[in-house]
Amino acid sequence: MAKSKEDENSIIVVDNVEKHFGTVTALDGVSLEIKAGEFFSLLGPSGCGKTTLLRMISGFDTPSVGNIYIGGTDMTDVPPNERPTNMVFQSYAIFPHLNVAENVGYGLKKQKLPKDELDRRVNEALALVDLDGYGPRESHALSGGQRQRVALARALIMKPKVLLLDEPLSALDKKLREAMQGELRRLQRNVGITFVLVTHDQEEALTMSDRIAVMFNGKIAQLDTPEGLYKRPATRRVASFIGVMNFIPATVRKSTDSTLSIDIQSLGKLDLATHSRHQAGDKITIGIRPEMLTILYRKEESAEYEFEAIIEGAAYYGDMTYYEIRLIDTDITATVSMRNTAGRPILEIGRKTRVGWGIESITIIADD
């Protein structure tokens, strides 16, 4: 409990947790702190350990090594029914033999509230998720979105310190999923409860979270705000997991305390105002997002830096077009995204074009 003092704002502290299933290591020394009232996401591909970590916070799994503190108390071995956390399950786990109101009131039953008090709180919870009047409905007649709301109401009625969400939107279709993303975010702000979301959908994590822990192979690869993750991905793997990233090889020419001079094949020499551990002669990778590259459609358009490229592919998304380009006389390819504003034609494949970019948009990517 030495930690609890400095972590006054942390509702959850995961301290060097490992989990082994036989010879398989699901979690490999994970430490993180989740602040009270924040919307925190665990993001990663399936099998990265994110669900295992969530199940440890909820109490369904226990760590092989390490501790989990909730609200300053060591909860490592406390069973789920004695934790101040509630969970929205991936399958929603709506009790099929109970109606909506009985589902929502399930956890309050133990508190032996008077009937009108119980009814009032159930109706309150249903109103919170826009299901006013759904109480008497049979639960098996609900749609996917409604089941999700019932699961939310059933958890929120317990007034948990932390609400855990295990891929809650993955069973919904795209339209409904996007609507629910916004709703969940609003709901979280309204109730002020800490939300911990597990997801494999980077877009979902970016749009909803205050902070995101990206996990690979049982480890946290990077923990940052959505903007930080997108703009300054720590590794190549994080960079390509969060959105699309163009990787371009470069060589270090000179490295000082405040500048890094690099040589990007066919793009020329650049001086970056950044400090780096790299030495002259090191091979490095720089990253540049597709939207940081601009196709210069007309002669009079110009940019800080320019190069010539050939269009090798075009994918039309309605609002955007994604071009695959190849730098002239090289085998370096990149993706460029252009907003389809008025007057911008869709460029045909094989055409030569000028592409502009700025020095600010470059990130140095560490290799994994």
């Binding site: 786990a93 009790f95 133990k110 958890a155 317990m158």
Partner: protein, 273 residues
């Protein structure tokens, strides 16, 4: 796609059903026939034989024995079935497949072998034959049926329902009574009804183990020596067929309901019959 069966297939199906049910159909035919001789042509309609059943005291005792044995057997085998099915559905343990396989073996063992073996063992143990020895034999043959029915009820239950209950502050015992039990209740009722029916109709094991407390099938067998009582036996047989049919249909209704409640639509169409 053409879903109509061919004419020959339909004919085959009809012949098949006649083969299955013609002997059973003879029961009501002669049960209501106003003649002491079981032979065609029929002579007239009567309830006389059913009235005769009402007056036979030995029959009433046999009926009472059978009902008690069936009741205790169904409770016993269903209880054992709940434990085994729950363990098989929820836990992994070494040798699980082998153990479950062996539990199911009595389903296919010849009953006469089971009967003789039990007789030998029970006598060696110094037990005298009674209704209780019949119950032991019946529990043995009914338990596999109970397990088969209950296992599908337990398997169909989404594990996260139990976790959700725990997550909402309920302990293990509370979770069992508030979530698991209500969801498998139809399966339990189905198991009770089916083992009850099996026990009620079973002859061979009862014949070997019954002692002086004859069950209904054993009583029927003993009456076959007296041709004059045959029509009354026909009437009794007819009643037993009707009762078994009703019990099995009720059991099937509950079994399907169990599958529907737990949200498993794929397996709801298959039947164990």
């Amino acid at each position: 796609m053409q879903n109509k069966p061919s004419r020959s297939l339909l004919t085959y199906a009809i012949v098949y059903l006649i083969f299955l049910y013609a002997p059973v159909m003879l029961l009501p035919l002669f049960a209501f026939n106003d003649s002491a001789i079981i032979a065609l042509p029929l002579s007239g309609f009567t309830f006389h034989w059913f009235g005769l059943l009402w007056q036979t005291k030995a029959l009433h005792e046999a009926l009472y024995n059978s009902l008690m044995i069936a009741l205790i057997t169904s409770i016993g085998s269903t209880t054992l079935g709940i434990f085994a099915a729950r363990a098989a559905a929820r836990y992994e343990f070494p040798g699980k497949r082998g153990i479950m396989g062996f539990i199911m073996v009595p389903l296919v063992l010849p009953e006469i072998i089971v009967g003789v073996a039990l007789l030998v063992v029970l006598i060696q143990l110094g037990m005298s034959l009674s209704a209780w020895t019949v119950i032991i034999g019946h529990v043995l043959i009914c338990t596999p049926f109970s397990i088969a029915i209950l296992q599908s009820a337990f398997n169909n239950m989404d594990r996260s329902l139990e976790e959700a209950s725990m997550d909402l502050g309920e302990n293990r015992i509370g979770t069992f009574f508030r979530v698991i039990l209500p969801l498998v209740t139809p399966g339990i009722i189905s198991s009770l009804l089916i083992s009850f029916t099996i026990s009620l109709d079973e002859f061979i094991i009862a014949f070997f183990l019954t002692g002086t407390d004859a069950t209904l099938p054993v009583y029927i067998w003993s009456q076959l020596r007296f041709p004059a009582r045959l029509p009354a036996i026909m009437a009794l047989g007819f009643l037993m067929v009707v009762l078994s049919f009703i019990l099995l249909l009720t059991a099937e209704y509950f079994r399907r309901r169990a599958n529907r409640i737990t949200g498993n639509s794929t397996s709801s169409e298959e039947s164990i019959f």
